[in-house]
Amino acid sequence: MIRIQPEDFDLAEEYQQLRQGGAGVGAIVTFTGLVRDFNNIAERQGASVETLFLEHYPGMTERLLEDIIREARDRWQLSGVTVIHRIGELKPGDQIVFVGTAAAHRAEAFAAAEFLMDYLKTRAAFWKRVRRGGRNEWLDMKDSDRMAASRWQREGKQPGRDGGGQQ
């Protein structure tokens, strides 16, 4: 399930939704991203972020997220996937993104959630603008995010495929 919305979301509700995947669900991983008041360590010296504005490309962003989810489902056996991304104006401490995965075993759920976040950061059509010190500035993609996403291509590894029987 994909939702792109200005409204906040409720972790407990999303978790309950993922639990509905049937008796085969043995593991649920949820990730929630929050708006920080700085963008990397080097910028800690600068002015604090007052607001964060999220722009997307209606239609195309949804399709790109569908592609990313399809790819995760090809790699891992998942009984449920939820991706929520907020848009519009947010403040430090606000929830901005949610990724939830349900699977038979934890290795698949963990790996898929991490894959979804890494690809969402580098491939989904969202753009962030921050306001700090009374000035607006668009953010650049971080090298660390690029690296995080590229490891999935390099390894082609599928953690969880032969995961153990325990949760």
């Binding site: 722009e55 950061k121 753009w127 953010l139 993609m141």
Partner: protein, 83 residues
């Protein structure tokens, strides 16, 4: 008519991040449109020339030599920063 959309920092070069052109600039490729826009506004031209800027036609990312037809929606996309 073609509809041109600009996202992220590119949006600052067009009112509301969009503009309309009566027809695709010759020879009718995405690169030709980019060059045309750069000739009209040097600042935009410089921003569009950044190597990481991508172009989408009708919401599909395409190569710069892809054709643009009347009625298309063309979007210029800087590197994404979601999540």
């Amino acid at each position: 008519m073609i509809r041109v959309l600009f996202f992220g920092r590119l949006g600052e070069y067009a009112e509301n991040g969009r503009m309309e052109l009566t027809s695709p600039p010759a020879p009718g490729t995405a690169a030709a449109l980019r060059d045309h826009l750069g000739a009209v506004d040097a600042g935009l031209g410089k921003a569009l020339a950044e190597p990481q800027v991508m172009v989408a036609v009708n919401q599909e990312v395409v190569d710069w030599d892809s054709p643009i037809h009347d009625g298309d929606e063309v979007a210029f996309l800087p590197p994404v920063t979601g999540g």
